[in-house]
Amino acid sequence: MIAIIDYGAGNIKSLQFALTRQNLDSQLTADPETIRKSDAVILPGVGAFKDAMDSLNSLGLTTVIKEAAKTGKPILGICLGMQLFYDTSEEDGRWQGLGLLEGKVGRISNTVKVPHMGWNTLRQHAPSPLLEDITDNTYVYFVHSYAVKDYQEETLISSTEYGGIVPAIVQKDNIIGMQFHPEKSGSAGLKLLQNFRRMIS
């Protein structure tokens, strides 16, 4: 069972539908015990960085997620969920993230329209089982105003180009981030979720 962390409003339904289509059993939950017992965890993205961290803290989920990360089970962060994995964010202030990945989150350059909204192409940087059968120039759907700025080069699996290099898929062992929405990226996104499924033992 995949635990989808429930920490607020937003479109979680599309993610659940996409997982069901991959025959993946998932449960939307804020219960620490359910998260501990899960085979994998997905941290979806909702709203602003600070609000999200505040919600996770008040629900007592920050430690639960950090513990889950140490067990080695796959943890996937989508959009803001990926950004929350990093040390800090500069979204309307300066905020602490979960610190599962080294780096920081900052606003997309104003030389391009913000938010970055629409279908953009992936470019591979490092091999990963996540990219099986995903060729360069595959289109996936992005919608975000902030992006990961500093990161460890070796964690960059795939990027896109928008006012500079934007990390699209990052991975450090069992910690995986996708800046785009696989559940909204047509059959390419479903293929990526299928690849994620293969990482779940």
């Binding site: 409003a9 539908f17 709203g47 329209k113 938010p115 629409g118 279908w119 909204k184 390419a188 479903l190």
Partner: protein, 256 residues
């Protein structure tokens, strides 16, 4: 590279896609979920669903449509029509919509844009502007389906909407809507130049060249309804045409 988006728009009344005169002969497109699936397969980049009745009794039927669409297709879609409160927005997002389009209610209560963007993020708040040129040449904002002239300047309103937290603007040109003579390039450009958020052109598409004109000129996406519903411009052909005209559009291969 970020692709330009093509967005079919579906007007929904009591759970069915509203059929025009020519629509009568095409029975299978009346179901919004079936039509959404077809457009998804044909390469639509996004979809828009408008609840055109937006009465209390039709609201729940419409929410069911939203949820059924979310269950069937894995591309983003926007919902509009009758959105007046933060709670309305919450309901459609929870049902599976990715973005919410706000028109008249934003003119009446601009703070709705701010409150909604704060709660759900600017990326899911779309400001829809109906505009028409006055005798003096200014672009004026209309509400209530084009019946009410607010006297507001559309370019000023667009900037204000961006500042309040809208993450995208749909520019509906009332003059060209339904005319099939092309998008209003002047209006779309005036608004695109005034803001730094994505712009969706709407109203006036009649042939493939109209899409390439507005996408080359200023818009990030182009919305249309009848040319797709009536099969006048098949989506795959339109994508091929745009590609041949050096416009970056998404091409998709299919995975099993």
């Amino acid at each position: 590279m970020l692709a330009k988006r093509i967005i079919p728009c579906l007007d929904v009344d009591k759970g069915r896609v509203v059929k025009g005169k020519k629509f009568k002969d095409i029975k299978d497109v009346a179901d919004p979920v079936e039509l959404a699936k077809r457009y998804n397969q044909e390469g639509a980049d996004e979809l828009v669903f408008y609840d055109i009745t937006a009465s209390n009794e039709s609201r729940n039927i419409f929410l069911d449509v939203v949820e059924n669409v979310a269950a069937e297709i894995a591309i983003p879609f926007t919902v509009g029509g009758g959105i007046r409160t933060v709670e309305d927005i919450h309901r459609v997002l929870r049902a599976g919509a990715d973005k919410v389009s706000i028109n008249s209610a934003a003119v009446e209560k601009p703070e709705l844009l701010r409150d909604a963007a704060r709660k759900f993020g600017a990326q899911c708040i779309v400001l829809s502007i109906d505009a028409k040129q006055s005798a003096a040449g200014a672009w004026e904002v209309y509400t209530k389906g084009g019946r009410n002239n607010t006297g507001m300047d559309a370019v000023v309103w667009a900037k204000q909407g961006e500042a309040l937290g809208a993450g995208e603007i749909v520019v509906n040109a009332i003059d060209t809507d339904g005319e099939k003579t092309g998008y209003n390039l002047e209006l779309t450009k005036a608004i695109a130049n005034a803001v730094n958020i994505p712009i969706v052109a709407s109203g006036g598409a009649g042939e493939a060249a109209h899409f390439s004109d507005v996408l080359k000129d200023s818009a990030d996406a182009a919305l249309a309804a009848s040319v797709f519903h009536y099969g006048e411009i098949p989506l795959p052909d339109l994508k091929k045409y745009l590609q041949a005209n050096d416009i970056v559009v998404r091409s998709e291969r299919t995975w099993k």
